[in-house]
């Protein structure tokens, strides 16, 4: 009976997993046929081209009418608002075309900037989440790391990082071209060009990059980088020397992050795996499960390993001990703020709302929501079943794990695919947290390595499995015609491209992060003194405690 139940469960899981594949491979729906003319409906007349005479005599509201105000909005915004090149000639088709073009770019600017502001707001989510999971005696120090990383990261990225990442990206058509970002340093490997780093855009002034489109791109990419730079602080709270944190963050923003981001998004060699080696559409990472989260996650792993566990985290026989979070309200508030910011992170990564298939922002937003829900449910039920209680902090981690995982595939998968990706991430994060703590004996107080590293890598792989080939962002991706398609929909090469990205993050990015952190450890020491740690880092490192009006009694 037990075996039968088990078999039924396996069958049910298999049916759910295979459903989207079946739907995607089904014949095209009848919507195309509906558009064909029938006997009862006459064929539609083709649109009439506009000629100059059509633009003369267009009625516009009189000055008297406008002077009375426009409470219902019917008079504001009309032909008189179109900028004309020559007032003597009046409105021409050229003026109209220019206005349409500028409107498209303006829509994309506003979209990208506002979604960038949402991503910036995620810094608050990280700050609250990490501080809530720390003990009260380290609250000031943890909040300060989350604040300082914003300034340190931005400064380093402005000086160096942005140019390395985007200096050779070429035309970003959604933002009007970004023509000055045109110099990628390229070498030849295996007989193919390998883009390694960009060369224009230092200080966002160098080589003509003082440009409105470049500024939009800088702001958006900067807040993404800062999200990645914040991740290691979570794994290192309660024992990271502030000075070492500052230097490590500078290197992350200036070199580690921008290098991989160039290879994936800036026209580098990973993006070229499709054009050069026939692997799908090259390495694809829509909004950064790999570029932002996994890169931040493996850097967090390197730092957590070098720092070692907090005093009291493991007993003498190596068994992990629970160190309680000081404020679960902050933790959950932080998670919800992060989820809100993710609506900037993923849909904003179209870099526009107008043209080139950008209306898919609705699908991306829905995918983002669904994966967060299934991630939350996966973690909550896993903890409930295995540990008998729906643990709040792990449920929060599952919520974030779903979001992290769907970040790369959000632009290329359907809602069922997104839900499955999130669900797997929600369970995966619980298993990973336990494995890292118990088997590897690494102290990661907030689960940053599991949420961002492990689930970020899962997100990259899941794209190579679940991308359904229905997206179309201008007809090509990474210079390869067609839509991004994963293994389940017929393109095994895409999965290999994704795995090469994963191997690069694990093998190269980790090594680089580790080397930086190791050298810093040798030169100035990464870890605060045991005395400071026991006292709490607030006073010794920051000079003030977070909650001066309360007597703090730490259980450890």
């Amino acid at each position: 009976m037990r075996q039968m139940r088990k078999n039924l469960l396996v069958l049910a899981v298999a049916v759910v997993c295979c459903a989207p594949i079946g739907w995607a491979q089904a014949p095209a729906p009848a919507s195309n046929q509906a558009a064909a003319p029938t006997a009862s409906t006459p064929p539609a007349t083709p649109p009439k081209p506009i000629v100059e005479t059509d633009l003369t005599g267009i009625p516009v509201p009189s000055a008297d009418a406008r002077a009375k105000g426009d409470p219902d909005g019917s008079l504001t915004g009309n032909a008189s608002d179109v900028t004309v090149a020559d007032s003597k000639k009046g409105l021409t088709i050229g003026d109209l075309a220019n206005q349409v073009g500028q409107n498209k770019i303006a829509i994309n600017f506003v979209w990208t900037l506002i979604t960038g502001y949402l991503v910036m707001f995620m810094q608050l989510g990280f700050a609250l989440l990490e501080t809530g999971l720390a003990r009260a005696k380290n609250a000031n120090h943890t909040m300060m790391m989350n604040l300082a990383v914003y300034g340190i990261g931005m400064f380093a990225y402005w000086l160096i990082g942005f140019a390395i990442q985007m200096g050779g990206v070429g035309a970003v058509v959604n933002l009007g071209g970004t023509a000055p970002l045109s110099a990628e340093f390229t070498t030849t490997l295996f007989g193919k060009p390998f883009g390694l780093f960009g060369q224009h855009g230092f200080l966002v002034m160098h080589k003509g990059t003082y440009d409105v489109g470049v500024m939009v791109l800088f702001l958006f990419q900067m807040v993404f980088m800062d999200t990645g730079a914040t991740i290691p602080t979570g794994a290192a709270i309660e024992r990271w020397k502030f000075s070492a944190f500052a230097v490590t963050s500078f290197f992350f923003a200036a070199f580690t992050y921008p290098l991989f981001a160039n290879w994936a998004w800036g026209g580098g060699w990973l993006a070229g795996l499709g054009t050069n080696f026939g692997l799908g559409k090259g390495y694809c990472d829509f909004a950064g499960s790999g570029v932002v989260h996994a890169v931040g996650g493996v850097s967090a792993l390197a730092i957590a390993m070098i720092l070692g566990p907090r005093i009291g985290k493991f007993s003498r026989d190596g068994r992990p001990q629970v160190i309680l979070a000081h404020d679960i309200v902050l933790v959950i508030t932080g998670c919800l703020i992060l989820a809100f910011g993710w609506f900037g992170f993923n849909p904003g990564s179209t870099l526009g709302a107008s043209g080139n298939g950008n209306l898919r922002i609705s699908s991306i937003a829905v995918n983002t929501m669904l994966a967060s829900a299934t991630g939350l449910l996966g973690a909550m039920f896993y903890m409930w079943i295995v540990y008998k209680k729906p643990d709040a902090s792990m449920t929060g981690n599952g919520f974030l794990a779903g979001l992290v995982a769907v970040t790369a595939p959000s632009g290329f998968v359907n809602p069922v695919g997104a839900a499955i990706i999130g669900l797997i991430a929600g369970v995966l994060v619980c298993i990973s947290v336990a494995f890292i703590e118990r088997t590897l004996q690494i102290d990661d107080p907030v689960g940053a390595v599991s949420v961002h590293g492990v689930c970020g890598l899962w997100g990259v792989i899941s794209l190579g499995l679940f991308a359904d080939g229905k997206s179309n962002y201008g007809g090509a991706w990474n210079g390869v015609n067609g839509s991004v398609t994963g293994l389940f929909y017929g393109d095994a090469g895409q999965l290999v491209a994704q795995l090469i990205g994963v191997a690069t993050i694990v093998g190269f990015v980790f090594t680089l992060s580790f080397l930086f952190a190791w050298v810093i450890d040798l030169v100035m020491g990464q870890r605060a003194s045991a005395k400071s740690e026991l006292e709490g880092l607030d006073l010794p490192e920051m000079g003030a405690v977070a909650y001066p009006e309360f007597e703090l009694k730490s259980p450890s």
Partner: protein, 61 residues
């Protein structure tokens, strides 16, 4: 142990990279990439982490 761990981790990346030229079929490349990934993971978890756990703070004093 730490320098060896760093080298082995990086070596895994090199193996994955070489899959682009050593194999022309998708399956061949897949196998080599997975091999490279396994080598990198061994470098991180089997060598580097073990080196740090050996001298972990709870084992001192």
């Amino acid at each position: 142990m730490i320098p060896v761990g760093i080298i082995v981790t990086f070596l895994g990346f090199v193996i994955s990279l070489l899959s682009l030229t050593l194999a022309s079929s998708v399956t061949g490349r897949l196998v080599l990439v997975l091999l490279g990934l396994a080598v990198s993971l061994f470098g991180i978890l089997g060598l580097l982490n073990r080196a740090y756990v050996k001298r972990a703070i709870w084992k001192q004093g």
